[in-house]
């Protein structure tokens, strides 16, 4: 049918059935900006457009409903190649991160600005209340709206953002995000925008059981269905064991899975895959596959997994690449071949036959002596729930052949690891595979693992066809990655004056069916929380168990949010026990500049770690400034006797990548007119990493940012980088770009010395792109023309890498004030102040955005989010109706992120990391504030009204 509409100001014919979903029809008509984050449930709002001037979810409309109406999408906001002042305001205010929701946010904002001259905070919150964004934390939307309003009068109004490093042109100042422009226009950017006509669709048959063997499987009827290209099961897929965790090789995560396996270890685990001409045929074919299962009892909790005689998730044959124990043959006696294998690259102190996936134990000093010296000892247990990363763009891969090579358009944090792992699974050389990281619609750690890429890669490699594989939201919940469920028993001893004498963290983790990050996440819960307190006697015990819940893995913070919840809340409880102000207790025990963190010796990632000297630590000024902002100790008055007010404070830290493990590379090539291209291995997830690389190069070479182009994370064109995880982007990938720029500087000086006939040490670079000597100067263009001529030395190409043994820790203090309705248990966050030290914030507006985003995400984890299972291991809430995430209406009333200035001696131009640390504060600081308000300690996520009422005794 042809249905007439008006689209972005012009008549338009939509070719569609009147009863067809409008979002699908618009996508087919080339409107790419209607994004899909909830599969047509209407909960994410990422497909919003204006219909007759009102914001609506296109997924909740059918085409017939919009016949003859005016539809406006972000594609029509500005003229081609231009931007409206609203779009530039969004970019300049730092509210464009991954960009997946940006089109919808902009249309919501556009509707409001058409109706309100000067919108209030409440109006802005209401206008954008239906658009879910996981990256930004929304707060800078208010800045963007104010800026857009101001720019109506004066288009030159500058953005108000903090500025660091006087004398630098770009580093430390808000200069926009270089991929912000295409994202704000809603242009083709994501994997889903790269598909070609005629591609196939891949769908996977999920295991209906949490724990089972496949007794028999018959795919003949599915294979016979017209339009089915291939069907894969454990019988015709590679017999290669691997771990999908994107970690540096050799990985600490055990190789405990196969692409398809005869054993199924969680509901949703892969039984079979169908590749077909259309999604409908693929779905139909899945129904034709006949499977008989031998159902095994499911293990869901840590206590069930560690119980003697518990069902074993991996009663597998164990192999070690190095470090096999002497009794391995005995260990492997009697294993069932259907259980498959586990290959350890090196020992991680696992005992899979009793569900122990990994363990580590260590400490400093004498814990018994420490507790003996204590005047007060407390022991408390803290538990985290299973929370999902929920990137708005679910996992997606588009694979195709180009001649004899496999090309993967991926939404990944780790393109180089994906190439390496897939080459191994397919038994091909790495040079046969190209991974192109497209714009990533949210990663947050879930995309540090390869969770569907290898299946599509295999399908394309076997069939030669283009294959698209995109998770549904439900698959994203049950098959992607989540935070490890962690339970920590913390025992703390202190003297009466508040000095800590002993700390013991006894931590147990639930890794689910596979061991992605099963050693390192729980270990990081200790290594990012113990070094915050100076204590001579410290012990930690970490045991991780397999179970049949949905897979866990990396999630922004990587264990630290759970560890910090336990350690910081235990500190708050100890302060109360001692009758001390929690802030005074923190001051008495906290880490400071100049100390050496001995505990890190026993907290390496599966190998010996290195004690680190704390060179810079912003905790002093962060605590001081936060105390003032907060009016610490003076609570807001409550006008309702049922509503009690409380305050909390915690301190936090993270790392800046993994010293001794991570490595990044970059190259810079010079063009004929003297401009440059930086080729970075770094993986920008919307965080502004490519902008970091450009700024560092422009700043070093004293040229405008426009003179530096960037290409990143394409494994054919850019050099090796471990990828975006462990808060390594700015420090490592940025460090490599800076080192390449420093090398380019040497090259430019050498060439100029030759031209000017002056010694190199007479020469220096000068703005805007010249080399000055005593006798004269030469422009970069002149150098380029000469080096690239028939008599030149060749094009200037610099390459550099960045590695370090230094751990430049970012620090922070979070303060919060809550109101607790003691009759309904409802918690409202009145104030949340996050003060963090990121060294030099290279993109300050984006650094603030990452703080807001990290905090709001973890406010969600603390108050709302949890995956809930029935006794058979079915997740009951794999959708945004029942799994509640914070949206704009849930913002703290007063929300401020502050960058505390420190200047790191090792990071690029003084930078430390920013991304993950912001996730470590919300849980403990909100829990502490809830206690301060109403006297209840809530020691498990999420702090639901029901838990609070139970703690207060009003619900039995």
């Amino acid at each position: 049918m042809s249905i007439s509409i008006n689209l972005n100001g012009s008549p338009f014919i939509l070719e569609a059935e009147a009863g067809e979903n409008l979002r699908d029809a618009l996508r087919r008509a080339g409107i790419l900006s209607v994004r899909n984050g909830c599969d047509g449930e209407g909960t994410c709002g990422n497909c919003s457009i204006l219909v007759d001037g009102r914001l609506m979810n296109t997924c909740l409309l059918v085409v017939g409903q919009v016949e003859g109406r005016n539809l406006r999408t972000v594609e029509g906001l500005a003229k081609p190649r231009e931007l409206t002042s609203l779009q530039t305001a969004f970019i300049d205010a730092g509210i464009v991160q991954c960009g997946y929701c940006t089109g919808s946010m902009l249309m919501a904002a556009a509707e409001l600005l058409e109706k309100a001259e000067c919108p209030t905070r409440e109006q802005v919150k209401d206008a954008l209340s239906g658009v879910f964004c996981r990256c930004t934390g929304y707060e800078q939307v208010f800045d963007a709206m104010n800026l857009a309003v101001a720019r109506r009068k004066d288009p030159a109004t500058p953005v108000e953002a903090p500025k660091f490093r006087e004398g630098m042109r770009y580093v430390g100042s808000a200069k926009g995000k270089i991929d912000g422009y295409l994202l704000a226009r809603g242009e083709s950017a994501f994997v889903e925008d790269r598909v070609r006509p005629g591609h196939c669709h891949l769908k996977v048959m999920p295991s209906p059981h949490a724990h089972a063997f496949i007794k028999s499987i018959d795919t003949s009827k599915a294979e016979a269905l017209k339009g089915v290209v291939a069907v894969f099961t454990y019988k015709n897929s590679p017999d290669v064991w691997y771990n999908p965790a994107g970690q540096g090789f050799p990985e600490p995560s055990p190789y405990d899975r196969r692409m398809f396996d005869q054993k199924l270890r969680h509901v949703g685990d892969r039984v079979a895959a169908v590749v077909a001409e259309t999604p409908e045929i693929a779905a139909e074919a899945l129904k034709l596959i006949k499977v008989e299962y031998e159902v095994l009892p499911a293990v869901l909790t840590i206590d069930e997994a560690k119980r003697p005689g518990a069902p074993v998730i991996h009663k597998a044959k164990v192999e070690y690449v190095v470090g096999a124990p002497a009794d391995l043959d005995k260990y492997n006696q009697g294993v069932d071949p259907r259980e498959g294998k586990i290959i350890y690259q090196f020992p991680i102190h696992a005992d899979p036959h009793r569900n122990l996936a990994a363990s580590v134990h260590g400490g400093i000093g004498d814990i018994n002596k420490g507790f003996a010296e204590a005047d007060v000892t407390i022991e408390r247990t803290y538990e985290s729930s299973q929370v999902q990363c929920t990137p708005l763009e679910p996992h997606i891969i588009y694979s195709r052949m180009e001649g004899e090579r496999l090309v993967l358009h991926a939404s990944t944090q780790v393109p180089s690891h994906v190439r390496r792992i897939i080459a191994r699974i397919l038994s091909v050389k790495e040079n046969k595979i190209r991974v192109i990281k497209e714009r990533v619609g949210g990663g947050f750690g879930a995309k540090q693992d390869m969770v569907l890429e290898e299946v599509a890669a295999w399908a394309t490699w076997v069939t030669g066809r283009d294959v698209l594989y995109r998770y549904t939201r439900e698959e994203e919940f049950i098959n992607s990655r989540t935070r490890h469920v962690i339970r920590v028993k913390v025992k703390v001893g202190a003297k009466k004056d508040g000095r800590l004498t002993a700390i013991h963290m006894d931590l147990e983790a639930n890794t689910g069916p596979y061991g992605s990050h099963c050693l390192t996440v729980p270990m990081n819960a200790c290594s990012k929380s113990l070094p915050l307190f100076l204590c001579d006697n410290v012990r930690f015990d970490v045991n991780t168990y397999y179970s049949n819940i949905a897979p866990t893995g990396a999630y922004q913070g990587y264990g630290a949010p759970q560890g910090s919840f336990a350690m910081q809340l235990a500190a708050a409880e100890m302060a109360r026990e001692l009758g001390m102000d929690p802030l005074e207790f923190i001051e008495k025990n906290r880490v400071r500049e100049g100390v050496v963190l001995e505990i890190l010796r026993c907290l390496g990632e599966g190998r010996e770690g290195t004690p680190q000297l704390v060179y810079t630590c912003g905790l002093g000024p962060a605590l001081e400034q936060g105390k003032k902002m907060m009016n610490w100790g003076v609570k807001a008055p409550s006008d309702n006797p049922d509503v009690k007010i409380g305050q909390g404070v915690v301190i936090l830290q993270q790392g800046s990548g993994l010293p001794g493990l991570d490595s990044a590379n970059a190259a810079i090539t010079q063009f004929g007119d003297g401009t440059f291209m930086v080729l970075s291995g770094g993986t920008d997830l919307g965080t502004g990493l490519e902008t970091v690389a450009v700024k560092l190069v422009a700043e070093t070479l004293l040229i405008p940012m426009e003179n530096v182009a960037v290409l990143a994370a394409d494994t054919d064109s850019t050099p090796f980088d471990v990828g975006a995880y462990a808060s390594s982007g700015t420090y490592f990938s940025g460090g490599a770009a800076l080192n390449a720029a420093l090398k380019m500087k040497e090259m430019l000086i050498k060439e100029a010395a030759d031209i000017l006939q002056e010694p190199e040490n007479n020469l220096k670079l000068a703005w805007p792109g010249v080399v000055k000597g005593l006798s004269g100067e030469v422009t970069y263009e002149q150098i380029a023309r000469r080096t690239q001529s028939g008599t030149g030395h060749g094009q200037l190409i610099s390459t550099a890498h960045f590695i370090t043994d230094k751990g430049s820790f970012p620090y922070g203090a979070h303060f919060c004030e809550v109101a607790v309705d003691t009759r309904t248990g409802k918690v409202r966050i009145l104030k949340y102040y996050a003060l963090q030290d990121a060294g030099t914030p290279i993109n300050p507006e984006l650094a603030l955005g990452q703080i807001y985003g990290g905090v709001l995400k973890t406010i969600g984890h603390s108050l709302y989010e949890e995956m809930i299972y029935d006794e058979k291991g079915n997740c009951l809430n794999p959708n945004f109706v029942d799994y509640k995430v914070p949206q704009m209406g849930d913002l703290p009333d007063d929300f401020k992120a502050v960058l505390v200035d420190t200047n790191d001696p090792f990071g690029p131009m003084g930078a430390k990391s920013i991304s993950e640390i912001a996730c470590n504060g919300a849980a403990p600081v909100i829990a502490a504030a809830i206690h301060d308000a109403c006297g209840a300690w809530i020691r498990s996520w999420p702090f639901t009204p029901e838990k609070i009422l139970r703690a207060l005794g009003s619900v039995k």
Binding site: A18, D39, G40, G42, L55, L60, N877, P886, L949
Partner: protein
């Protein structure tokens, strides 16, 4: 299968289409329920937008709100009483309020409905194709096509409250109340609670025991309400938790209605 789509121009045509198209045919208003791709897909859609049901008019019986009026229109239309605006504002978020309609909410008749408790407290009437019924009677069993609701005008205070996990969540418990207080005595009280039964309910027994009495202390009210509701355990909370919420919110809205502390003026 893509559902067939029909846009009749009159109520009669809509009813005839419904009868003709048979099972699997549903009326389509804003689409937030019917078009949800997680819900069972209908075979045929009868779009009601051509029936002219999107008007708000003052009538002698009260404010007549067409079934096709959206929640956002309720908020923006100047003559809609404040308590209706407030209840409409409790609906999820702006995107949904721009589509969801008054008739759609009644048709879906969910226990988490935000507007229905307020309409009950206002003793609104539902206009069907052949008759009018009180909202509580409609909710208890009607399934026929809704053309409008009539909200009687008056000056009774309406108390309203709701509890959600996040701001965009569906309501776990909703509560609305109205009453007249004469010489310290409660007259003709209404108490509507959502989230404790299959649909929103009026607690007639509680209303009866309040009639003619001075409004009891909150604690007593809570006990009366707690005894009158039978919520179930589900993902959003235990029965005990929901009973507590119903009791606390119910007592609060009764108090608000009695003291007029809620600024929302409604019926009588």
């Amino acid at each position: 299968m893509t559902p067939s789509y029909h846009r009749p121009a009159s109520v009669n045509e809509a009813l005839q289409l419904k009868a003709k198209l048979g099972p699997g045919t549903v009326f389509l208003a804003g689409g937030t329920e019917v078009n949800n791709l997680h819900a069972p897909r209908p075979a045929a859609l009868i779009d009601l937008s051509g029936l002219g049901l999107n008007k708000i008019e003052a009538t002698p019986a009260g404010l007549r709100i067409g079934a096709g009026v959206t929640f956002q229109q309720l908020i923006e239309y100047p003559d809609v009483p404040a308590f209706i605006k407030k209840a409409a504002g409790h609906m999820a978020n702006r995107n949904i309020r721009n589509c969801a309609t008054v008739g759609g909410q009644l048709g879906a008749n969910k226990t988490c409905a935000n507007l229905i408790p307020a309409l009950m407290a206002a003793e609104a009437r539902v206009v069907l194709t052949d008759r009018e019924v009180p909202v509580d009677q409609f909710v208890a069993g009607e399934t026929s096509l809704v053309l409008a609701v009539i909200v009687p005008t008056g000056n009774r205070a309406i108390g309203l409250d709701h509890h959600t996990r996040t701001a965009s969540d569906i309501s776990i418990i909703t509560a609305a109340a109205s009453m007249t207080v004469e010489a310290g005595k409660v007259r003709q009280p209404v108490l509507a609670i959502g989230g404790v039964a299959h649909h929103v309910v009026r607690l007639y027994n509680v209303e009866k025991s309040l009639e003619g009495q001075a409004l009891p202390e909150a604690e007593k009210l809570e006990a009366m309400i707690a005894a009158a509701v039978q919520p179930i355990d589900d993902l959003r909370g235990s029965a005990a938790f929901k009973r507590q919420l119903a009791a606390v919110l119910g007592a609060r809205v009764l108090n608000a209605a009695a003291t007029g502390t809620c600024s929302c003026k409604g019926v009588r």
